[in-house]
């Protein structure tokens, strides 16, 4: 670094301001990086809505300001930081120096902390414990340094794994529930502006695993976590990391929560039909709910989901996510789902045959209704035709009830060569770029 001493000092001073802001208002729930010229626009936005003085810590957080803080310390450079109503903005002009200052401060504190730690471990393991109880001593000071600097650093560089790890280490040493709950607040703050931050999501999973069994109302934590994902998914479309986190939560949900989630996510999915991650989430919930259910229950749940899906398919033309979901539903209730009952040989009942016949002929009807309008030049309508035809082809090819299909008298299957010919023609016309795929799949199906 070729920085001169002065600019280093200024940056360090700014870092102190940032850390003080974060310490004084632990409820900050939004951060943005903006050009300082836009600060004025931020002020205008809330004119009249708030009586607090610009550029000062809002009154509402007075309760969080501990008595030993000097009021003068709360001053901050208003050309660099803007704060109001738990919203913080940082000037993009200051980021580079602020980041360097935060990194150096963090790395220095971490190195010192590791040194003290290893000294404690080498001399006497219990010494470490004793000092912790005292709330004094060099390691306590260093811990708070590491916590403050890592917070500032992560705010500026949210996937710095070393900084996240340093926080995990301190949390696991302290074994203190409120410290862990603070980590949920802080990582939510990071996610408010970096909703795809893998480290932040992973940090939350670590925290949740750590509080499982310790927090009195753990279901509430799971519930709030699921709500957080939904809030973030609303602003950040098709966010794989966020939905993956929600899927992970399912193993911690109670039976009632699973049913509730199924109901709530249905409304959400209707408003976001392109977000296939939400449909995947429903698939996991359905499988979890039906795990120990009778064949009869599975049949009815599946039928209802199929009807809902068909309604959406007809309302939102050419949405891939809806057809992907239907592929899944076509298989729901078939062999892979029945691991519990798999040991007994599967006997195809007369009712199964009737259900299957009905299912397949209604799917063929859906296909024909989609193909009949696909002559149209509109792209969505053409896509709908491709999705419908490839869905039927896919279903026939990978149906896990193949065994069952062979043994039964399904009228539609007697006509298989004709159906396949029709699908091949439609697909080659609507989607000629994948001819080799259609060719291979149709041939392997007929044979």
């Amino acid at each position: 670094m070729t920085e001169n001493k002065d600019s280093d000092d200024i940056a360090f001073h700014q870092l102190k301001q940032l850390e003080r802001i974060l310490e004084c208002d632990p409820l900050i729930n939004e951060v943005g990086f903006i050009h300082p010229s836009q600060f004025a626009a931020l002020d205008d936005e809330i004119v009249g809505s708030d009586k607090s003085v610009a550029h000062s810590i809002p009154q509402s957080v007075d309760e969080f300001i501990s008595t030993n803080l000097d009021a003068n310390d709360l001053q901050h450079d208003s050309s660099i930081f803007w704060i109001r109503d738990h919203k913080l903005a940082i000037s993009t002009e200051a980021l580079f120096h602020l980041y360097n200052a935060a990194k150096h401060a963090f790395m220095a504190a971490l190195t010192q902390q590791k040194m003290v730690d290893s000294l404690c471990r080498k001399t006497d393991k219990s010494l470490n414990k004793k000092v912790t109880d005292d709330n004094t001593g060099p390691d306590i000071f260093l811990e708070s340094e590491v916590m403050n600097h890592s917070k500032a650093l992560l705010l500026l560089s949210c996937d710095n794994g070393t900084a996240w790890n340093s926080r995990k280490l301190i949390c696991s040493k302290k074994q203190c529930l409120s410290l862990l709950m603070d980590e949920l607040l802080f990582s939510a703050l990071i996610l408010s502006y970096a909703p795809k931050s893998e480290s932040a999501w992973s940090h939350r999973r670590w925290v949740i695993k750590a509080i499982d069994g310790k927090y009195p109302k753990f279901e509430d934590v799971v519930e709030r976590e699921s709500e957080l994902v939904e809030k973030i998914a609303e602003r950040s479309k098709m966010n794989y990391r966020a939905w993956n986190h929600r899927c992970w939560l399912i193993t911690y949900m109670t039976k009632e929560q699973v049913i509730n989630q199924l109901q709530n996510s249905r409304k959400w999915a209707e408003l976001h039909v392109g977000d296939s991650s939400c449909f995947h989430y429903r698939q996991l919930l359905l499988q979890r709910m039906l795990k120990h259910c009778s064949r009869f229950d599975v049949y009815h749940v599946r039928k209802e989901e199929l009807e809902w899906n068909e309604m959406l398919i007809k309302r939102y033309i050419g949405r891939e996510a809806l057809w992907v979901h239907r592929r899944f539903l076509s298989q729901l209730g078939s062999r892979p789902f029945r691991s519990e009952a798999e040991k007994e040989p599967y006997v195809v009942s007369n009712q199964d045959n009737i259900n299957m016949n009905n299912f397949i002929s209604s799917e063929m009807q859906l296909l024909h209704s989609c193909l009949s309008i696909s002559d149209n030049d509109f792209e969505d309508i053409q896509s709908q035709g491709v999705f419908a035809a490839s869905y039927i082809l896919w279903m026939f090819k990978f149906f896990n009830l193949r065994q069952q299909l062979h043994n039964s008298q399904l009228t539609v299957l007697e006509d298989m060569p004709r159906v396949m010919g029709e699908l091949k023609m439609a697909l080659n016309k609507l989607c000629p770029e994948k001819t080799l795929l259609w060719e291979d799949q149709v041939i392997s199906r007929i044979m």
Binding site: T92, T111, W206, W248, D275, Q331
Partner: protein, 342 residues
């Protein structure tokens, strides 16, 4: 592919990659320094595929890589950072590019990978004193065969791939229970044929690459229904010729790599239009200053530059070195590791 020959701006991409290291004066360039090891792998592999790896100072790179090694044996993303399996693979790959794997204490490193594996069980109740533990627990594996990324216990099929790929490059695959590792990967397969991060996780082309490559390296591809997975993969190709990573997403150059490798490994690459894909990648070049972006006219970065060039290499674009899809290293480097052993 010959039709498109000459459209790849080789010289400009080389210049772009070499310029990245020199830029240290903006927030954007420094805020990513924690993953510099990945960046080194992306940049150097690209240079090697373009036949220009001799433009970098090999000794300087290697000495920096070795400074990133943690006492546990694992590698960090940069000097002074914590080790993670993500950076460990990149470090091994960079050393392999320079034919310098012999600078490693191979047993220590592979024990470290096993050790991470063992730590998973203690993730939630992790206590720092375990950091002092002697690495003498060779052979211990998570009951379910999965792998963690570091001592903090996050499990992901990406880490399974990395562990398997790393150990394969180090000739130490025999140290793990590959049968269990494969069993875990197979448990992450979905009804659509794809794979996710953990059992039940949504299918994603990046995860599929990891799982398929891990199965390929361990000789376990027979677990895959190739028609089913191949279908899902070739549905990633959009009208523009580009590939996306999941349904409903925009095309992106990086998926050229993830989808294409998987299709090649399961022998279904003829289901996509290769020329159209090459056209898409070439359209994502910054023809003036070099580098490749995710989509045409976006800002370039080293990550997409690597995946673009590697994708073109898989497509047998003229003038590029061939790349091994499972280990993600040039074929001549792989041959040296597996066939030239003393």
């Amino acid at each position: 592919m010959d039709l498109l020959s000459g459209e790849l701006e080789v010289e400009k991409h080389v210049k772009y990659i070499l310029s990245i290291e020199k830029k240290k004066d903006s927030f954007e360039s420094v805020a990513m320094e924690h993953l510099r090891m990945n960046g080194a792998y992306w940049g150097l592999t690209t240079l090697d595929l373009l036949g220009k790896i001799e433009t970098v100072d090999q000794d300087e790179v290697i000495s920096w890589v070795m400074q990133c090694q943690h006492e546990s044996g694992g590698f960090a993303g940069n000097v002074g950072h914590d080790p993670h399996i993500l950076y460990t693979l990149s470090a091994v790959q960079v050393l392999a590019l320079f034919d310098k794997l012999d600078v490693l204490d191979v047993d220590k490193l592979s024990d470290c990978i096993l050790w991470l594996n063992f730590m998973e069980k203690n993730a939630a109740t992790f206590s720092p004193c375990l950091l002092d533990r002697k690495l003498d627990i060779c052979g211990l594996q998570n009951e379910d065969g999965s792998f963690s990324g570091d001592i903090w216990g996050e499990v992901d099929t990406r880490f399974s791939y990395i562990a398997i790929c790393c150990l394969s490059l180090l000739h130490r695959l025999d140290k793990i229970n590959t049968e269990k590792a494969v069993e875990y990967i197979v448990s992450c397969q979905n009804l659509d044929g794809g794979f996710g991060c953990t059992p039940g996780g949504e299918s994603h082309a990046g995860q599929i690459f990891c799982c398929v490559s891990a199965l390929a390296i361990t000789g376990s591809l027979y677990h895959i229904d190739k028609d089913l997975l191949g279908w899902w993969l070739c549905e990633r190709q959009l009208k523009s010729g580009g590939l996306n990573g999941r349904p409903e997403k925009l095309p992106d150059v990086c998926y050229s790599w993830w989808v294409l490798t998987s299709l090649i490994l399961i022998d279904r690459v003829h289901w996509i239009d290769k020329v159209k894909l090459a056209r898409f990648i070439l359209d994502c070049q910054d023809k003036e200053n070099g580098g490749i972006s995710d989509r045409p006219d976006d800002a370039v970065d080293v990550f997409h530059t690597y995946f673009g060039v590697a994708g073109l290499s898989l497509l047998e674009y003229p003038g590029l070195k061939a790349i091994d899809p499972a280990h993600a290293l040039p074929v001549d480097v792989i041959n040296k590791i597996f066939f030239d052993r003393k």
